[in-house]
Amino acid sequence: MGALLETLDGKVDQAELFHLCSRTTPIEFRSGKLESIKDKQIEGVALRVIDNGRLGFATTTDVNDLSGLIDAAIAAAAFGEEVSFTFPSKRENETPQVYDASVANVSEEALVEIGEEAIAQIRTADSQAEINLSIAKSVEKVAIENTSGLKLEEERTTVFLSIEVEKAREGDIFLLSDEAQVRHLEDLKPGELVDRLEEQLRLGKTIVPAPSRKLPVVFTPNGAIALLLPLIVGFNGKSVYLGTSPLKGRIGDTVLDPRLSIADDGTFFKGPRSGAFDDEGTPTFRTALVTEGVLQGFLYDLRTAALAGAKPTGNGYKGGLWGSGGFRSLPGVGMGNVIVGEGATPQARIITGIEEGLLVEAVLGLGQGNIASGEFSNNVAVAFKIEDGKIVGRVKNTMIAGNTYNLLKDHLIALSDSARWVHGTLNTPAIAVDAVSVVGPPG
């Protein structure tokens, strides 16, 4: 691969080669039974060139004939956008321990057994439940080289487990799910997923009517994504540059309740999204976004940083805001690990203090509503009714809506004292807020 950059040296202003080799083994169980095993081996390269100050991009899977790739990227650069950033040169960064040899070595058989055991445990608690389960291991090697002299390589491992439990009765289907994504095999705790699912199955047995008015809502760590998504979009340096973030120009202002602190941390030890560098070779950082309610900064990739006159934060990821990876797309601003600071109250005690409200575990229609303005509007997928400090049953066909900036600034009740990883990118406690609009089903 290095030869390719040598070919380009002197021919163009700058060039960068991104080379991904990944091997993923997804194992699927459907209705409690092993359905398929897949061995997926992907190799692809992406080339960015800057020629006469203009950017061109191309990708290919044909690693043996890269001349076509060079031609395509240079041809695109002829009409490309003028850019003013420079590919980074070598910088030291510690590895956040994202490789575990035991993930690379674990057999398909052993993973199948983990899945079978989790299914058997849920079946013990509820013999009628339908269970779909996926478990996958992945080993990927990312190599980035550029004409600034950078030459980086990192191997990263991931184990992913997702369990979906479905309970169908006359006139009602209750679907719940949980997932975990870890870098090291020893950190995979299927029992924790099973326990949470069993607890929800128990709480959800009774269906109760949902009211239609403004109520306190406790978002569990998993449900908190509904509340946090507009904020995550607002922290994106690209939204700020485009003028679509309400946080634009507000650094130093108190934008959230002083109990809230949020950071993006691509260096988080064994973090599911951690790496020594982002997809542009910029070393990852811990970037404070909000500290005790005060806005501190935004997230940037190389290009947006150059446009905004800001410093790259190591948030140049392929695959959009969620950084779904791969080799195909151009890097853009994406999240590392989003870390929401914990509070001091156990979730159970927050619930005890609520006279009437909802506990929201999962929502449908994430990203619905005008999230640029901070609005969310979702149907609850898994939610429970709280009455006099106790959970009395599950609510269905119910909408919740509100404005994140408003709720997290003026209506925060409490943050729970234990954060956990959810959605493979977010580490958050439960968040309780007052005055969420709730619309129950017709009745």
């Binding site: 044909d62 395509a72 695109a76 169908a168 449908l364 900036y405 619309v439 017709p442």
Partner: protein, 458 residues
Amino acid sequence: MEGKIKQAIEASNADYTEVRIERERRSQVLYRKDKLENLETSSELGGIVRCLKDGGWGIAVFNDITQLKEKVKEATRVAQLVAFHNAEPVALAEVPVVQEEVKAHLKHDFRNVSLEEKKRLIESYNRILLSSSNRIVSTNVRYTDSFREVTFANSEGTFIVQEIPDLTLLLVAVASDGPTNIQQGFETFGEASGFEVALDREEDAANAAKRAVDLLDARSVKGGKYTVILDPGLAGVFIHEAFGHFCEADFLFKNERLAKIMTSGTQFGKADLNVVDEGYIPGLRGNTPYDDEGVGREKTYLIKNGVLESLLHSRETANKMGATPTGNARAISYEHAPIVRMTNTYIEAGHHTLSKMLAKIDHGVYAVKAYGGQTMFEQFTFSAAYGYEIVDGKLGEMLKDVVLTGNLFETLRSIDMIGDDRTLFGGSGGCGKGGQFPLPVTDGSPHIRIQNVTIGGK
């Protein structure tokens, strides 16, 4: 290539072996605000092998197609492991052996259009969006084209080579008049057609910009229950998302309780409700002449005269449920095994005019275009791009933040009028399921009127 594929299948020890090799060439032009964000031409080559051994599925995906024979062995090895752990062997419904080549016929072949010309066109649309109003703060204008050549072969003797074109155009304007009021207007296009689809969209760009600006002054809908009219775009997304996915047999073929809910003959709507999934209508994005199991296209009635008629099937689900494969086993690319998906899905036209549908509504909501949507079994939620209040049978003020929710079965029963104006939309996005996104699909409908719909809001 043909010889190598046939040899690899010949050498397989599996009970059933299929190979799919895909070659793709694609380009993209993307503008955000006043910047050309991406200008790209890329190429891709990859393959997938799927084997059944002793009734278990093994799959191997790869880019290095010289490894084809080894990958057949690998897929067979993991298939045996699956069979060892699962006492219920998979079998496939019989289908005809096919040997065919399906060529794409493009009016204005986008492969012959230079990247520079594509860029100029998209830049001109972006300029229209940006210059429409000083309240437009940002844009998102994206053009994509893709030309795939997919070779499918299996151990039963089927050998099909298909050319699959796809072109999309997204025009989004973002307007703002202060940090808490940010609105967007959009138009989207997607077809299995040539470059002509992307041409002459100046008026659409102007409409998208105007709508974004109009929404700045629109009122938020008040949460509550309303009689609602969905426009063909939103109704199409509704029938695809909320109902169509329910008809995908892989979702219920191992689940007796769900299968029972979806038994043919069950009354789901009023007698004038007909819902169709049709595998080929010239130019549509969802077109699937042969699916990714080599099964030919069908026109499948999901609901006929208000009654559930058929589900959508793969060879595996059809075999298990005693049905006939419908040509709906689709994969987004060589990275994935086929799963049961829709193609072109729509509600058939009824006989009501929009004005007649509006006439007797005292207070309702007219919801237009889908912004997003998600379903979970019978619960669904959709956000309209915008809407209008309906007062005394007439369209009134523009509304924003229109998010609808409900129970699928109750909502289907509550469709009380179906319009005479069916329209189909390919869009610039696609359908997502089981980690496979975006799959090109088309959906559509006439205007439909629904009683008692919950709309969220403050």
